[in-house]
Subunit: 333 residues, 2 copies
């Protein structure tokens, strides 16, 4: 999965795309252009799609050098992750993804069939699994490879939002945190062999679609979001203004590889995990009376604290700082 | 309108955005976050929007160095044109734009209030004029400034598509062609003073929304699209497979500035106009019995030829070649 993508395309000059039409015909072999929800598919100025009375809609940028490093990401992983992180946004509000548009910026050295065969297959796996269609998009050459996806979905019976927590709620997450960050560091330091699950979490993150389906059926869950910038940053986005959070995360609850990486870097493992972005686990809050059934229904669900009325954010008794900001970069607490 | 954008932001270091939250709060002052069609606005993982049973949807990339040159484009023009070209896609299928999502890649030197005040105002003018809302999006820093917009709209009573022409149809365009290309050349050669309408067509193109409203009511119009890559390329996309087109464009029908620029470059004015991209006029075909009323209803509408059964594409008796392709660049016939 790890390799120099550029070299793949350089190896066979004959297998480059000669025109936009040729590229789009190749794309058509991966993504059907008609379907029960697609009245007019790709090829006109717009697509015409059937929609429910309300749709959830979200966009995510997936840019080389910022959101992924080409030295580690195979074309397959770029395709997979660019769509996966968008699906994550839909399920975190209790919805089901239906379709997406894609703005694709490719670089001259990527414009070959080998690259796009893998790239499209990375997306197609998710499309087939979750019955999602590609409605349309745009293509351009650029200096950096970039995939911008706008995804839409059908809302569930209840819409879940951020900042709907209630004082006394238990705060939960659906999977390990800090694992993607450990994977990125392992890849950048060439020690990925010791961190296989971290590397997978970074390159092809698991999206908790099944877990979301269980969570949204639990009437005691009050608020929900996906964790993309680290829980230390995202907890401020989850909790209702005026409220606070007391998180308790014993080291033993962290993933072994996260503990190992934090020790290697001489960092506090809990802080390491809390500021690590791109985990794409769900984080939410649930009334105390619902948390036991929720834990039974959702394997791997971990209770990490509770919502308070104090406006303070504490982790194991210390004030929480840090997380990722596109304007400020990574800040360490 | 023309100036070095970078300098604007360098002039006042204090006026930079400190965080993503700060940037988004600034954005909120331009684009309302609630509305009759927006149930949940920006600030959650998705927005929740009300939709008709079917929507038209389209995406366009607007990338520095490819779709616009920062030496000529003011922040206002970048904002205006990035949204305008998307509105063009909706109206060319007979629809009305409703809302959009925006993926915004900004560069460090643009991340100041002066820049985004102008940029957002360029969009806001169109939003207010056509009652379009900004539902959501994503932000990242990048090496090149880029705006990717996904727009959706309400289809009209009839959906207009490409490749629905009938033999004998008259082919029409709604406005001057080649003007945007003349503007780009004038700007790049520093002679914009002599080409004011060309420059305006390139930087802040007129979008024929009113013209589209008239066209879609004419029952004789068979096919319609917007011209983004030049009519010499787009005519192949407009005409039904197996059919052809005979275009007759006398030089006197071209815009004065287009003729002047072609003469300056010692190019055939008709070829110059035909391969010029980004005009965002509408091109379509109409049964002969409807063309006279169409010309009366749509001021500026120009009949440029007719659909044939021969599979050949001719301009003033010569075979048509050329146009813009992202894989091949500009090709001159």
């Amino acid at each position: 999965m790890v390799g120099d993508i550029g070299l793949m395309c350089m190896s066979n000059k004959l297998d480059r795309f000669g025109s936009e039409e040729e590229f789009l015909k190749f794309l058509d072999t991966f993504f059907p252009n008609k379907g029960k929800r697609v009245v007019i598919g790709r090829g006109d100025d717009c697509s015409l799609i059937k929609t429910p009375g309300k749709i959830l809609i979200s966009s995510d940028i997936f840019l080389e050098g910022v959101h992924f490093d080409k030295r580690y990401f195979s074309p397959y992983a770029i395709g997979y992750k660019s769509l996966a992180v968008n699906i994550s946004d839909i399920i975190s509000m209790g919805g089901r993804a239906l379709g997406f548009n894609m703005c694709l910026m490719l670089t001259k050295r990527d414009s070959c069939r080998e690259f796009f065969n893998d790239f499209f297959n990375g997306m197609k796996g998710l499309c087939d699994k979750y019955d999602i269609y590609l409605a349309g998009g745009d293509i351009s050459f650029a200096q950096k490879f970039c995939v911008d996806i706008t995804i839409w979905g059908e809302p569930g019976k209840r819409i879940f939002q951020r900042k709907r927590s209630k004082v006394g709620d238990k705060i939960f997450i659906t999977g390990p945190i800090g694992l993607s960050r450990a994977g990125l560091i392992a890849l950048s330091q060439g020690i990925q062999g010791n961190f296989p699950e971290s590397v997978e979490a970074h390159l092809t993150p698991y999206i908790p679609v099944k877990e979301a389906e269980k969570i949204v059926k639990n009437p005691y869950v009050n608020t929900l979001m996906d964790v993309s910038d680290g829980i230390f940053k995202d907890i401020y986005r989850l909790i209702r203004p005026g409220q606070g959070a007391e998180l308790e995360i014993p080291i033993k609850e962290l993933h072994n590889e996260v503990i190992e990486m934090a020790c290697l870097l001489k960092e506090d493992p809990v802080v390491f995990a809390g500021i690590g972005g791109e985990d794409y686990v769900l984080m939410g809050s649930c009334r105390e009376e619902g948390i036991y059934s929720l834990k039974e229904e959702v394997p791997g669900l971990l209770v990490i604290g509770r919502v308070t009325d104090k406006g303070k954010f504490l982790i194991n008794g210390q004030q929480i700082k840090g997380g990722f900001d596109h304007f400020g970069g990574m800040t360490n607490g």
